[in-house]
Point group: C2
Chain length 205, copies 2
């Protein structure tokens, strides 16, 4: 039986999105172009343009879905936990997502992003992920610190996000290797970060 020619994907739009993510995984964000996506799918150079006006539009679609997946992942926690435990659960989900999906995590937080104003759905989904964290902190009724604007939970969410993002990034960085910490020490360090976070938030009793 003769080998079949490469089939044209039945849903070209979805095939483009999946292939674009593979381009980024294989060769980095700089390698992403609609031309490269078309080449790898074996379709004409013009074909992806029927669905995406530009490379930024396909990247924005990947980011829109990543923020959505990330927010849903943060929400996958046992129901009914007290607010401080629930926040810790969300923090652990955050760390797990970053570990399981390092490429999407970097796309969301560490690499150049298309203009948010030109891609409102991407912006909304990013805002929604941040709001999950902010709303958790609002429920916790934290003891106020830091002068005026003390009730603004967005500021506390920036702090929690900074610690989680910093830890997730450091754990994936080459810089960490220079410190030559054992796996056991690393686990202790992660636990310590969560313990210090709890102390920093110190909810009103």
């Amino acid at each position: 039986m003769a080998a079949k020619p490469k089939e044209r994907p039945s849903n070209l739009r979805e095939a483009c999105i999946a292939e674009a993510l593979r381009v980024i995984e294989d060769a980095g964000l700089d390698a992403l172009s609609l031309r490269e996506v078309a080449r790898r799918l074996g379709v004409s150079h013009q074909a992806p343009y029927k669905h995406f006006p530009s490379r930024d539009h396909i990247l924005a679609e990947i980011l829109t879905r990543s923020f959505d997946e990330f927010a849903a992942f943060l929400d996958q926690r046992p129901a009914g936990a007290a607010p401080p435990d629930d926040l810790r659960g969300m923090g652990q989900q955050y760390m797990t997502y970053a570990r399981l999906h390092p490429v999407k995590y970097r796309l969301m937080f560490n690499t150049p992003m298309p203009d948010p104003d030109a891609h409102p759905e991407m912006m909304r989904n990013a805002q929604r992920a941040f709001a999950l964290l902010r709303d958790r902190l609002t429920v916790m009724k934290l003891r106020p610190v830091g002068g005026p604007h003390r009730a603004n939970a967005s500021f506390d969410a920036m702090f929690v996000w900074s610690t989680l993002h910093g830890l997730a990034s450091i754990l994936q960085s080459d810089t960490l290797r220079t410190l030559q910490m054992s796996d056991r020490d690393l686990q202790q360090a992660i636990s310590r970060c969560f313990a210090r976070l709890s102390l920093a938030l110190d909810p009103v009793d």
Copy 2:
């Protein structure tokens, strides 16, 4: 008077290092090669190899110097401050360095690094920057948290580093733009992060 031909740099090694950093600034880390450095300096392709066996060696030299500069910058604080204020001063120096030197900051903490075992001076300087933070925390005699190994200041240094690195990275990220925070709110958020850090560290009185 006739234009002089491009002069061969009198100190080719230093010229290579400076030009390599400019390549990274202009075109990103992926664009760095000894061939590109030679081309931009107007010297033969082979010339840089007299000083650097590989592209990794020139990158390691840039990193070695960056960690050294970064550590010296962290140390530029008013003398005689009480340990908690002194740590806050170091944190502010950290944030300022990241803002003033975003390319070197990303090289040290956010992009692939040459193998530390092959570049021991780079590794030593990275360790020295971390030790500055760890030693500050040792002096502060923090109230213990987080179970066993409580006296290990490296774990607390990982926490402080995570928060500072996360905050510095978020402030430079495109993701932040999706939140549409005003400059005033952003300054408040940074202050809040420092206030929460202080609360998290909570030294013994």
